[in-house]
């Protein structure tokens, strides 16, 4: 009995798949990839839901829009939005998803037109085995309860912030007041980040590399653009307990940004071995945590600090040999 039910449910699900998964795939791809630019209109991208942005493009024909999305344009649209892993069908579905946003927004008076595909889908479902119409209401809510498509339930890093939600423009970042005129005049992070080297945490920008590669040249003196920092090239190795690699503290990268007085002597006594540092203290915003976890890369990037492989001590070597 139970098996029969599952069979019926999967049959009805199959008949839905053609329509539902295409729309979901389009929305998914938009959220993960396209929305990075098309939500805020970065680099002149036509904005989601903004009919004026899309009108001239729609006039040129949907086929041309698909082609632009798939192959990219000289104006700045990357091939497949930069997500080369996406299938052609998904990219087209994402285009359809964005087009639907302007059609519904531009013509609220005739919802029948946009509702037609849905109605057609509903009509198509019972046209399959008659019993499927009984099972359909059972499968439908389970697939769509949380507004997350079925494909996302088991997706990797399900709870992490998707690309589309990283580095939002001020008006959408949750702390700026979108009703404030000034908010709209502020620069969006992604507008600045374009040419900068990427990282996996924080602003998702590798700031140290950005300076090394001369992608940015922040002033050392607020009034004198020619002033340069006094860079000290001195590594301090901290041996750590446990099995983590030892920490190498590079003065070089720090003195590119900071003055000695920023850390010494208030945060760190300038003497090797004189500072008790623990990960708990860092997590709570002390020692390295004064910056790391607030403006510099956070503790999730373990190996950027714990980078020196431990030397095998004689006692350990003997124990290993005895085994």
């Amino acid at each position: 009995m139970k098996i029969k039910r599952i069979l019926l449910a999967s049959l009805s699900l199959l008949s839905f798949c053609g329509v539902v998964s295409a729309a979901d795939a389009g929305k998914d791809l938009y959220t993960k990839t396209c929305g990075v630019c098309h939500a805020a209109g970065i680099a002149g991208a036509p904005r989601y839901g903004n009919a004026a942005d899309w009108q001239p493009r729609i006039a040129a024909g949907t086929a041309r829009l698909y082609a632009s999305a798939l192959k990219g344009t000289p104006k700045g649209m990357p091939q497949k939005g930069g997500n080369l892993a996406a299938s052609d069908a998904d990219v087209k579905a994402a285009v359809d998803y964005m087009l639907a946003s302007v059609k519904t927004a531009a013509a609220p008076a005739k919802p029948a037109a946009t509702a037609t595909p849905v109605a057609a889908a509903a009509a198509a479902a019972p046209a399959a085995p008659p019993a499927a119409s009984v099972a359909a209401p059972v499968t439908n809510p389970s697939a769509n309860t949380s507004g997350v498509s079925a494909a996302d339930i088991n997706s990797f890093n399900r709870l992490l912030k998707p690309i589309g939600k990283r580095n939002p423009p001020p008006a959408e970042d949750g702390i700026h007041d979108p009703t404030n005129d000034g908010t709209l005049a502020l620069m969006a992070p992604l507008a600045a980040y374009g040419p900068l080297p990427k990282s996996l945490a924080g602003n998702r920008i590798n700031w140290v590399k950005a300076i090394e590669e001369n992608k940015i040249n922040p002033r050392w003196d607020r009034n004198d653009p020619a002033a340069t920092p006094v860079v000290i090239d001195l590594n301090i190795v901290r041996e750590v307990k446990g099995s983590m690699p030892d920490v190498v503290y590079p003065h070089k990268q720090h003195t590119e940004w900071l003055d000695c007085s920023n850390c010494h002597p208030a945060i760190f006594t300038p003497q090797k071995g004189a500072n008790a540092i623990s990960m708990a203290a860092i997590l709570l915003g002390e020692k390295c945590g004064v910056c790391h976890g607030k403006v510099a890369f956070p503790v999730s990037e373990c190996r950027l600090c714990h980078s020196k492989k431990k030397e095998v001590r004689p006692a350990q070597a003997a124990a290993a040999a005895a085994k």
Binding site: H176, N203, L258, V299
Partner: protein, 136 residues
């Protein structure tokens, strides 16, 4: 005995991290290192001020503000007020109409949602102990 306590503490901290990381996913959207300063703003009927680290570090190294201008590494810990800024201290060292736009552009800094608390947004500390749980 001491060791056992230590482990319990570490475990607690880790649990707190895990729990808050899981909770905050949707709420936390601000840019990493954005500082909201609400020492006096709410009481004065202004929106709280937001300092975006990312924007400033593209243009200035940390040393300029944190050594030359005396900004302490503490959100809300500098007792900045408009009199000091107009006098050329703190933000006013640059926001004077010469190096950067000046103080008549109130809304550009005072741009946070009213009631937003003083804190470093997206920071590890914020995730460990959200401002709503922190003691005033």
């Amino acid at each position: 005995m001491f060791r056992k306590c230590l482990w319990q503490r570490v475990l607690l901290v880790l649990l707190a991290v895990a729990a808050t990381l899981a909770m905050d996913i949707d709420d936390a959207r601000a840019e990493y290192g954005d500082i909201v300063i609400n020492n006096y703003s709410d009481a004065a009927g202004m929106r709280p001020a937001i300092f975006p680290h990312w924007f400033h570090r593209v243009r200035f190294r940390c040393k300029v503000c944190h050594a030359d201008l005396g900004f302490k590494f503490k959100a809300g810990g500098n007792e900045i007020n408009m009199v000091k800024i107009i006098d050329g201290q703190y933000c006013g060292a640059c926001h004077n109409g010469e190096l950067a736009w000046s103080v008549e552009n109130c809304n550009l800094c005072h741009s946070a949602k009213p009631g937003t608390q003083t804190q470093v947004h997206e920071s590890t500390v914020q995730k460990l102990a959200p401002a709503t749980l922190q003691k005033k």
